[in-house]
Symmetry: C2
DNA sequence: GAATTATCTGAACGCACGTTCAAAAGTAAA
DNA sequence: TTTACTTTTGAACGTGCGTTCAGATAATTC
C-alpha cells in the first residue's frame, strides 16, 4: 500500500489521488486500506517521515576527516540518495502543505536536523580556514537547493552519467565555499 | 479572479481549490467565473504563462558588459523578481503536473528560454576565460535551483535583509564558476 | 475439522466537485 | 423610458470523495 501510495502521490499529487485509486493499484477495495492506516493524512505523513528518517540514518557521519573531504562526500551522498528515491523526494518537498500543523512541524524538525549536518561541516571548515563563507546557514540552504534540483532534470541514459554530474556538482560546491 | 486563484492555488494546491472557493474569494457565484475562463485548467495555464512571460520580459538584456557583471546582475535580478512574486513562482514550479500535455510543453518552452539566457552568459564567460565550467547546462540548472530556493525560506524582517542575502548568493555563484 | 482470528468486500453515508444554463439583475445607448 | 446587451444568480447534472461497518472470506491455531 505504501509503495502504491508513494508512486501515485508523486505522480498526481496528494489531493488528486483517491483512496480508491491506491486500493486499485494494490488490487483491493478501498475499505481494506483502513486496516493499515487510520486515514489518508496519516498515510502521507508516514511516507514523509519514513523518507526523512532513512535520510538521516544514511547520511555519512562526520568523522575526523578534513572539511573538504566531508563536503565532497556529503554532495555525493545527497545526489545519490535522492536520485534513488525520486518519488519520496518529490513528495517530501511538494506535499508539505497537505500536512496538519503538528505533522508539518515534525517533518520540518527532521529536515532541520539534516541541514544541521551540512552546516556543521561548513562551520568547521570556516573555523579551520578551509572555507570562506559569510553565513553558513545561507550556504547550507543554497547547496541543498542546488543538489536537490538534480532530481528535477537528471535522467539516467542521458548525455551524462550520474557520476559525471556528481563530479561537477562537487567541483562547483568546492569552489563556491573555498577560501579565496 | 486571477489574483484570487493565484493566491488560493499557491496556498492549497490546484487540485484542492474549488471553483466555488475562488468565486467566494472574489465575492461571486461559481458560474460567473466561466465568463472569464473556459475552465479551471485554462485558468491555471494562463496564470503560469503570464508569470513566465513577465519573467522573460523582465530579465536584463545581455549587452556588451563583461560576463562577471552579467552574471552578477542575473543573480540579483532572479532573486528579486522571484521574491516579489512568491505565489506565482510556487505555482509555476509545483503545478506543472496538473497541466495538460500541450500546455505543459508551452510552459517548458518558456522556462527553457529563460535558462538559455543564463547559459549564454556562462558560455561567453567560458569563451573569454573568465569562467571555468565543465558543462554550462549543468551549471545553469544548478545556479537557478540554488537561487529559486531562496523563496522557500527567506522572509523579510528576518535576520538578514534581501540585499544581504543577494550579495552572498552573488558571491557564491561568482566563486563557483570562476576560473581557478 | 472446528474454533478463532485476521483480512477483505461491497454497499452506504453525506458532501463537494466542475460545469451548464434558463432566468433574473444590472448597465448603457437611443 | 424603452431597447439592447452584459453579467450574475441559483439550481441542477452526474460523478467521485473519505470513511464506516456488517457480513463474507481466508488464514491460523488447537
Amino acid at each position: 500500500m505504501r509503495a502504491a501510495a508513494l508512486r501515485l502521490f508523486a505522480q498526481g499529487g496528494y489531493a488528486a489521488v483517491s483512496m480508491r485509486a491506491i486500493a486499485a493499484e494494490v488490487g483491493v477495495q478501498a475499505g481494506a486500506l483502513y486496516n493499515y492506516t487510520p486515514d489518508k493524512q496519516t498515510l502521507l505523513f508516514d511516507l514523509m517521515e519514513s523518507h526523512m528518517t532513512e535520510l538521516l540514518a544514511a547520511v555519512p557521519q562526520t568523522g575526523d576527516a578534513d572539511p573538504q573531504t566531508l563536503l565532497h562526500d556529503f554532495v555525493g551522498f545527497h545526489i545519490r540518495f535522492h536520485h534513488a528515491r525520486p518519488d519520496a523526494v518529490f513528495i517530501a518537498y511538494m506535499e508539505l502543505r497537505n500536512l496538519t500543523e503538528a505533522n508539518f512541524a515534525r517533518i520540518e524538525a527532521l529536515r532541520r536536523r539534516y541541514e544541521d549536518g551540512l552546516e556543521c561541516i561548513l562551520r568547521n571548515g570556516v573555523a579551520t580556514g578551509a572555507f570562506a563563507v559569510h553565513d553558513t546557514k545561507i550556504a547550507t540552504l543554497a547547496i541543498i537547493a542546488m543538489l536537490t534540483g538534480v532530481n528535477t532534470w537528471f535522467r539516467a541514459g542521458g548525455r551524462l552519467s550520474l557520476d559525471e554530474v556528481t563530479a561537477q556538482y562537487q567541483n562547483m560546491v568546492r569552489k563556491a565555499v573555498r577560501a579565496d
